[in-house]
C-alpha cells in the first residue's frame, strides 16, 4: 500500500511539469504581452519606455526556457511571484483564501452525503412509491438546474422571505449553510440517481435471493448486502467529485460573496494576473491528483476485492 501511494505521488511530478509548462507556453503565446497586462493591472500608463523597463523587471526579455527555469526554481521554494494587482506574494494570497474554499467544499461534501445516501437508498427500497417519485423528480431537477440560479433562489427563500439565514458573506456557521447547499445539490442529485440504480441492481442479484432463502431479516438484506455493494462504486466517485466541487465553488463564491479561491481567481482572470493564474493551476493540479489518490485508497480499504498496485495479493 505504501509503495502504491509513493508511486502515485511520483506521477504527480510529470503532471505538474506538464501543466505548468502548458500554462507558461499559453501565457507567452497570446498576442497580449505579459508586460502590458502587468501595466494595465497596476494602472501604469503604457509607454514604449516604461514597457521596456517592465519587461526587464519581470525578466520577460530573457529566452522562454530561461524564464521557465527561473520560475520553477522559485516555485520550489514556494515563491510564485507577486500578484500584478495587489503586489502581494501569490503564495500568501492563495494560502489566505484557500482555507475558506476548503471549508465550503467540506460543508458541501457533508450535504452531499447527508442527502444522497438516504435518498438513494430509501427510494430504491420503496421503489415506485410516492417517496420514490418525489426523489426522482429531485434528481432530475437537481441535475439540470444552473448552480448560480439555485443559489439566488435559496437566498430569496431562506434569507429574504423566511429571514432565517444570512444573505451572503462569511462569518457564523449560518453563513455556510446556503453556499454549501448550493454547491452540493447538483452532485447530490446525480449520486442519488446512481445509488438508487445501484441498490436496485444489487437487489436483483442471486445472493439477495439466497439471503432471503436463508431467512435473513429484511433490514440486514437491504443494509448489509444491497446497500454496501451499491456504495462501493459511489465512494470512488465521491472522492473525484470532491476535487470537482472544490473547483466548482468558483460560481457559488461569486453568488454568495464568499471570500475564497474562486473569487480570487475570477478577479485575476479579469485582470490577466498571470502569476496568480499560474499559481492557481499548480494548486489545482496538486489538489486533483491527491483527491483522486485518496478516493482510490478509500475504495481499496472498503472493498478488499480491489487491491490496486499490490500484485501479490491480486495473484
Amino acid at each position: 500500500m505504501r509503495a502504491y501511494i509513493i508511486k502515485r505521488l511520483i506521477t504527480l511530478v510529470p503532471v505538474l511539469f506538464g501543466v505548468t509548462i502548458l500554462t507558461f507556453i499559453l501565457i507567452h503565446m497570446v498576442p497580449v504581452d505579459p508586460a502590458q497586462a502587468y501595466m494595465t493591472a497596476c494602472k501604469i500608463p503604457i509607454t514604449e519606455k516604461a514597457l521596456a523597463s517592465v519587461r526587464v523587471e519581470l525578466g520577460l526579455d530573457r529566452p522562454l526556457v530561461e524564464q521557465y527555469v527561473s520560475w520553477l526554481g522559485k516555485a520550489v521554494q514556494l515563491d510564485f511571484g507577486k500578484s500584478y494587482v495587489s503586489q502581494d506574494p501569490v503564495f500568501q494570497e492563495i494560502t489566505h483564501s484557500f482555507p475558506n474554499t476548503m471549508l465550503l467544499t467540506l460543508a458541501a461534501f457533508s450535504w452531499l452525503i447527508l442527502i444522497s445516501l438516504p435518498l438513494g437508498f430509501l427510494s430504491a427500497v420503496f421503489k415506485d412509491s410516492p417517496f420514490d417519485h418525489l426523489s426522482r423528480i429531485f434528481t432530475f431537477v437537481g441535475a439540470s438546474i444552473p448552480g448560480f440560479w439555485l443559489g439566488f433562489l435559496l437566498i430569496q427563500l431562506f434569507a429574504m422571505k423566511l429571514n432565517i439565514l444570512p444573505i451572503m458573506g462569511k462569518g457564523s456557521w449560518q453563513h455556510l449553510v446556503l453556499p454549501s447547499l448550493t454547491l452540493a445539490l447538483n452532485y447530490a442529485a446525480t449520486y442519488t440517481r446512481i445509488l438508487r440504480a445501484g441498490v436496485l441492481e444489487n437487489l436483483n442479484q442471486p445472493f439477495i435471493l439466497y439471503a432471503e432463502a436463508r431467512g435473513l431479516k429484511q433490514r440486514i438484506i437491504f443494509g448489509k448486502h444491497a446497500f454496501k455493494n451499491a456504495l462501493l462504486p459511489v465512494v470512488n466517485a465521491f472522492g473525484v467529485s470532491f476535487g470537482y466541487m472544490l473547483a466548482g465553488s468558483v460560481v457559488v463564491e461569486v453568488v454568495f460573496a464568499w471570500p475564497g479561491l474562486g473569487r480570487l481567481i475570477t478577479s485575476s482572470v479579469f485582470n490577466r494576473d498571470y502569476p496568480m493564474i499560474q499559481g492557481y493551476v499548480l494548486l489545482m493540479a496538486i489538489v486533483f491528483v491527491i483527491s483522486n489518490l485518496l478516493a482510490d485508497i478509500i475504495s481499496t480499504l472498503i472493498d478488499p476485492r480491489i487491491r490496486i498496485g499490490d500484485d501479490k495479493v491480486a495473484a
Binding site: L26, V30, F140, S144, P146, F152, V269
Partner: protein, 280 residues
Amino acid sequence: MIRLLLKQMAQRFLKRKPAVICLIFMLGVVLGGIFAPWLAPHDPTEVALKFKLLAPGGQFPLGTDDMGRCVFSRLLYGTRASLGSAFVVMIIALMIGTTIGTFSAYKGGHIDNILMRLCDIFLSFPSLVIVLVIVGVLGPGLINVMISMILVQWLWYVRIVRSLVLSITSRSFIDAAKVAGTSDRVIIWTHILPNVLPQLIVLSTIDLGSLILHFSGYSFLGLGIQPPTPEWGMMIENGRRFIRSTPELMYYPGILITLVVISLNLIGDALRDIFDGNYQ
C-alpha cells in the same frame, strides 16, 4: 430496411410521453430562437428607460428589465447565444474527437499513446479550471470561451470514440471485411461509424445539456458573451440585482435553462433505451 428500423424506433419513441413532450418543447425553443427576428415584439437591445421594470402585459408580454428592454424578446434572442453556442461547441468537438478517436483506435501506435496521456492530464481537471485559465490568458469573450470549451470537450470524445471503435474492431465482421480486401476507408465509413453513431447521438444529447449549463455559468461569471447581447446566464446575473423588487427577471431565464436541460436529459435517456432495444 433502414426505413423500417427508423419507423420502429420512432414508434418506440412516441410511446414515451415525457420524452415526446420534451422534444416538442425543445423544437419550440429552437424554432423560437431561429425565427426570433419575426417573433420578437421588440429589438432585444433597444434601451428605453421610460419603460423600465414594467410588469408583464400590454406590448411587453413578460415585462421589461432595468433598461426598459423587452424581456420576452431578450429570451427569444438569448436562445441563439445560449443554445446555439453550446451546440456549435458540441458539433465541432464531436467532429474533431470522432475523427481523431477513430484514427487513434484504428491505427494505434505512438499517436494513440500520446493522445491517451494527453487525455489523462486534461481530463483529470474539471473543465471549469481549464476554461478559467484559457480565458484568463486570452481574455474574456464569447469566442475565447467557445474555444476553451472545445479544447476541453474534444478530448472526451477522443477517449469515448476510441473505446467504442476498439470494441467494434475486435468483432469478427471487421476481420471478415479485412480478409475480403475492403479498404480501411470503406471499413471505417460503412462498418465502424454506423455502429458508433447511436451511442454518440445519445451521448451528445446529454452532453449538450451540460454544455448549456456550463456555458450559462461562464456567462454569469462574465467570462463569455459581453453585454448588450442577450444570453440567459447573463440575464440571470442582471436580474439578481432586482431580486427584491422584480424577481421575475431572474426567474424566466433560469426556468428556461432548467427546462431545456431536463428536456435534453430525458430525450437522451429515451434515445438510449430505444437504441439499446435495437441491439437485443
